[in-house]
């Protein structure tokens, strides 16, 4: 187990550089854009249709 841990430690210390692929960039950007767009809609829906004292 200890040697396994050492191998992992070594691997983590020497991770090869993997540049961000276009599909990863799209995933990150798409997720954030969708999140920010939905934020406004969901807040509006919450306060309009599910009011809670406010």
């Amino acid at each position: 187990m200890e040697s396994h841990d050492n191998q992992l430690a070594e691997e983590l210390a020497k991770l090869p550089h993997e540049p961000l692929l276009p599909v990863e960039k799209k995933l990150i950007a798409g997720s954030l854009i969708l999140g920010l767009a939905l934020l406004g809609i969901l807040v509006w829906l919450s306060y309009t249709f599910f009011p809670l004292g406010n």
Binding site: L12, L15, L21, L27, I28, S31, L39, V43, S46, F50
Partner: protein, 475 residues
């Protein structure tokens, strides 16, 4: 469809069994009336009390029956799951009695009594932490044994299963919250919708940012960054494992991430509820949603919600504000189980992107069945018990007292599972792991992601969806 033999499924069965037994009250069958509950005490002899007058048993006998009952049903589960029966029984015996001792200690009047209770108990001061202080005592006991006396943990190893205990507890908790939800259905609908909205935001914003930070600034490979992002941003252990499987990572990757998740969850559990009491007494529902969004792992999140509810209710009481028991914990739990509900969907989306776009391999396909396979089944139990009790409470008004009795009895076992969760989380939180060579980089990205981003964005999202919601209690 055949259910897999996993801890998750057995947590569902165990939770449903306790829930079903508690429902005996509706047919005037007091099937769990032998159980005992802890009381705030000054003298040890008054630390336990019966939950029902049906059986007239001494409290110690009731406690022994509770132990025997849980040992029997958990051992049955352990047998099916292939754990060594003898070692499980020994381990569970230690876990149960140490946890319960902590639970009772936490009910000591000088620790637990609220200012209002002091006069009745004949004491002049107390920390006012309520009986839930027992959870903190159990956590500290677990941390002490796990980090300073690791050999003592070896004897309990087979029964050190915090995720199993908390999942069973959450199934039972659904019933209890269902009864409370019936008191204000508008509040319940709002909590459900806003909880769902909050986690949609958390998924979309948290994951993308943490993945980007891990890849761009810490140089992690895709195989490490994806489980790490899910572990930090979504729901700890379950999400890291589901994501690891979805992107076809080596099993060791989510395991390493999970070991960090547990350690950081404990830090959050020890800090965030007290931070919420210090800064969010005026916004209790924000505090509760925050626990669900910020604290990772089911155990630590729901446990944080429970402690936050206790701390804030006591603090609010001192300010003349009455917050009923239930809505706060319901908010934390709802947020958490919604997060769990979507783990399978998120893992499915990642699997599609990885298999077809990031790392395509000839002949490899993704089946929609993966959503079902990765769905934690205990969340179905939570929604089922919640819906059954809510339906009964709304439609059968004449059995209200029986439903309350059923809820109280189920709650005794739920609290017991909670305290065992706290104790065993402490046992598995090995802080020495942070000093292990090579893991420092993982720990650093985890710390930066969690304390530099997730906690604050979680607070912002909670505030956006739940600020001012407590006014529903005071109008």
């Amino acid at each position: 469809m055949k259910l897999p033999r996993t801890e998750d499924v057995w947590a569902l069965w165990i939770g449903l069994l306790i829930f079903a037994l508690s429902l005996g009250n509706l047919a005037r069958l007091d099937l769990l009336g032998w159980a005992v509950d802890a009381r705030v005490w000054v003298e040890w002899s008054k630390a336990l009390g019966p939950t029902s007058a049906t059986y007239g048993l001494p409290s110690v006998a009731g406690l022994a029956l509770m132990f025997g009952f849980l040992l029997a049903i958990l051992s049955a589960g352990a047998r099916v799951l292939g754990y060594p029966a003898g070692r499980f029984a020994l381990g569970f015996t230690l876990v149960f009695w140490i946890s319960y001792a902590c639970w009772l200690l936490g009910h000591n009047a000088y620790i637990a009594a609220t200012p209002r209770e002091r006069a009745d108990l004949g004491i002049s001061w107390s920390l006012g932490l309520t009986g839930e202080a027992g959870y903190i005592v159990a956590l500290i006991a677990g941390l002490t044994l796990g980090n300073f006396f690791p050999r003592s943990v070896a004897a309990m190893q087979e029964a050190v299963r915090p995720e199993w205990y908390i999942k069973a507890a959450i199934v039972v908790l659904g019933g209890s919250l269902g009864v409370k939800a019936a008191a204000d259905t508008r509040l319940t609908e709002a909590i459900l919708f806003r909880g769902l909205a909050a986690i949609i935001e958390a998924y979309l914003i948290y994951w993308a940012v943490i993945y980007f930070i891990a890849r761009k600034f810490f140089g992690f490979s895709r195989e490490w960054a994806a489980p790490l992002a899910s572990g930090i941003s979504i729901c700890g252990v379950s999400a890291a494992i589901a994501t690891g499987a979805a992107i076809r990572a080596r099993p060791i990757v989510p395991i390493m991430v999970s070991s960090l998740v547990v350690i950081f969850s404990v830090v959050e559990l020890l800090v965030l509820p007290f931070a919420a009491r210090a800064f969010l007494v005026d916004e209790p529902m924000v505090a509760s949603a925050w626990m669900g969004l910020a604290v990772k792992t089911d155990g630590a999140a729901v446990a944080s919600g429970q402690i936050t509810e206790s701390l804030i209710r006591t603090a609010a009481e001192q300010q003349g504000m009455n917050i009923p028991a239930g809505p706060m914990l319901m908010t934390t739990t709802t947020v958490k189980v919604f997060i769990d509900l979507f783990i399978g969907v998120w893992a499915f989306i990642l699997a599609i992107i990885w298999v077809y776009r990031v790392d395509p391999k000839p002949g490899e396909r993704v089946s929609p069945l993966e959503i079902w396979q990765r769905l934690p089944k205990f969340v179905l139990g939570y929604f089922l018990t919640f819906a059954v009790m809510l339906y009964c409470a709304l439609n059968w008004r004449d059995v209200g007292a029986d439903l309350q009795a059923a809820s109280r009895q189920g709650d005794i076992f739920r609290k017991l599972f909670f305290v065992m969760t706290f104790f065993t989380i402490g046992l598995v939180s090995n802080f020495k792991k942070l000093w292990q060579e090579g893991i420092g980089r993982l720990a650093l990205v985890y710390a930066v992601g969690l304390f530099g981003f997730v906690i604050w964005v979680g607070l912002l999202i909670s505030w956006l969806f739940f600020q001012g919601a407590h006014e529903v209690f005071t109008r």
